[in-house]
């Protein structure tokens, strides 16, 4: 797994969801981060697209429900 992508995703989630960075791990999800609700998920998708300069398909946007899945899909899209 690309550590740089993981770190950027963790930072982004930490800022957006207002949780300490150390609490955002590879296994974080809406089940473990209280503030990760449907509205914040929408904001997260838009922020990820802007940060990494890529587009998620409509189907992908509703599957990105944990950090690991997010990082793996970004890796795949960027050919990392």
């Amino acid at each position: 797994m690309d550590q740089t992508i993981l770190d950027r995703v963790r930072n982004l989630i930490s800022n957006l969801m207002r949780v300490p960075l150390e609490e955002v791990t590879i296994s974080s999800s809406p089940s473990t981060i209280t503030t990760w609700d449907s509205l914040q998920h929408l904001n997260l998708i838009l922020s990820l697209e802007e940060t990494f300069g890529l587009q998620f398909s409509p189907e992908e946007t509703i599957e990105l429900l944990n950090v690991e899945t997010i990082v793996l899909l970004i890796e795949e899209k960027k050919g990392a």
């Binding site: 809406p30 990760w36 609700d37 449907s38 998920h41 409509p58």
Partner: protein, 312 residues
């Protein structure tokens, strides 16, 4: 206000569907929990009664309940997907009502989960529940003999009208027979004698107008689904007796896979209604997110709107 223990003891049917939804969808789990924390006796009484009714005749097995929860979650995720698309593009997915009719309204599989999902949205979305209360409160102030509902969908408004005035003559019109079938199935769940209802499968813009024949017309979530919204309201006006009233809901900046008429703000909705000849007796505009009104437009916040209109 009820804590979690009290909710489980007093409202077991409601909590059954809440648990299923929450297990399947952690995003919805949180929104529902916050919503339930702020609800009062009126809400819990209504929600539990609705769920109990469904449990008796429509959702009789555990699998039925699981399917209902999946239907709600699928509807929510469909809407979330469209919201994300809308934030990027500023426009709705489709712009032709005919496409929605072919791709969605005539597809029983889609309509079944969509209607069930929307039905539960009136229990778990703050705006939809507030609009339902707005409708219930208005019903307490009027007497009705002849009732027309256009695109009755989940049937909740029809049920409320029948609770208030069991003897009303009901006419239901929808462009989709599939949708009408789903509606009638749901109405039977509430012991409504649908054999007495007049059902019309047809295009509201093409069906003959029953001039000045109705005391009350209901159009819940209709305008955003049609291309010719101004003409739609002008025809609705003609159905009403002088002094008759119409309850309608619609929304601004509210993307969904079958929304075609895009209101950019609430004033555009009000202008259209007044342009059709109606007087707005009362209305409510509810943001879907906790954003100050000054920023609704800039942030493309979905606004749910409901109004009571009167024929002059």
């Amino acid at each position: 206000m009820f804590n979690k223990t009290e909710r489980r003891e007093r409202f077991p049917s409601l909590m059954k569907i809440v648990d299923l939804i929450s297990t399947q969808n952690p995003l919805q789990s949180k929104r529902i929990e916050v919503f339930l924390d702020s609800r009062d006796e009126r809400y819990y009484s209504y929600a539990e009664n609705l769920c109990k009714t469904l449990e008796r005749s429509f959702l009789t097995t555990n699998e039925d309940w699981a399917t209902a929860a999946r239907s709600y979650n699928r509807t929510c995720m469909d809407l979330l997907r469209e919201q994300i698309r809308f934030r990027k593009t500023g426009s709705y997915l489709i712009n032709a009502a005919g496409q929605a009719h072919n791709d969605i309204y005539s597809q029983p599989d889609i309509m079944n989960y969509y209607m069930m999902g929307l039905l539960f949205s009136y229990l778990f979305w703050r705006n939809h529940y507030d609009i339902l209360c707005f409708f219930q409160d208005y019903l307490q102030t009027i007497s009705i003999e002849k009732y027309l509902e256009i695109a009755p969908g989940h049937g909740l408004f029809t049920i409320e009208a029948l609770k208030r005035s069991p003897q009303i003559e009901v006419a239901l019109m929808d462009i989709s027979q599939t949708s009408l079938d789903v509606t009638q199935d749901l109405l039977k769940t509430f012991n409504a004698d649908t054999s007495k209802f007049k059902t019309i499968c047809g295009d509201f813009l093409k069906e003959p107008v029953g001039e000045q024949s109705m005391d009350f017309v209901v159009m819940g979530e209709v305008l955003e689904h049609v291309n010719e919204a101004p003409e739609f309201m002008r025809r609705a006006y003609r159905w009403l007796k002088p002094g008759g009233t119409l309850f309608m809901t619609t929304c601004a900046n509210c993307p969904a896979f079958d929304h075609v008429y895009h209101f950019h703000d609430v004033s555009a909705i009000r202008d259209l209604l007044r342009g059709a000849g109606f007087e707005i007796l009362r209305d409510i505009a509810l943001p879907a997110e906790n954003v100050p009104e000054a920023k609704w437009q800039e942030q493309l916040v979905t606004i749910n709107y409901a109004a009571i209109l009167q024929r002059k």
